[in-house]
Symmetry: C2
């Protein structure tokens, strides 16, 4: 079994209104040192019956096809745990 | 300046309908090895005029007060970069 974490973040330069709203809320709560906040997504994916290298390839394909909008988002794939079956 | 990444994920046992929907979509796209998907959030935060230890404390407080619902979510804070001013 393979456990992986996919992180999808907005590319630099892409506006992030949600991040801006969080910045505002944090200031309002008294966190004065906050300079910027950008929000992204994580997906914790478990794969079965696959090797580590196949899994990496497959996870990248998932990002390209479904999980990330590669026009405005970057993604990174990290294999957290690989257990042989 | 401190750059940090906060990751907020659902606790084990908490239903994740969004993750389930992604599982379904991935199967429909032909990714047959997917066992489970759980979705979470990341926040990339930049802090200014603060030390690393103050920043860690402050980031944890932000999670408790705003970014995470600690009843159903776990969070982790990672300092990515600390640049002395």
């Amino acid at each position: 079994m393979i456990r992986a974490r996919i992180t999808v973040t907005l590319k630099n330069g892409v506006l992030d209104p949600q991040g801006k709203a969080i910045e505002g809320s944090l200031s309002a709560l008294g966190f004065e040192n906050v300079d910027s906040v950008r929000q992204g997504k994580v997906f914790d994916v478990e794969l079965k019956n696959t090797s580590k290298s196949d899994a990496e390839q497959s996870l990248k394909a998932m990002c390209d096809q479904l999980l990330a909008n590669t026009v405005i988002e970057d993604f990174s794939v990290t294999i957290i745990q690989a257990i042989d079956q």
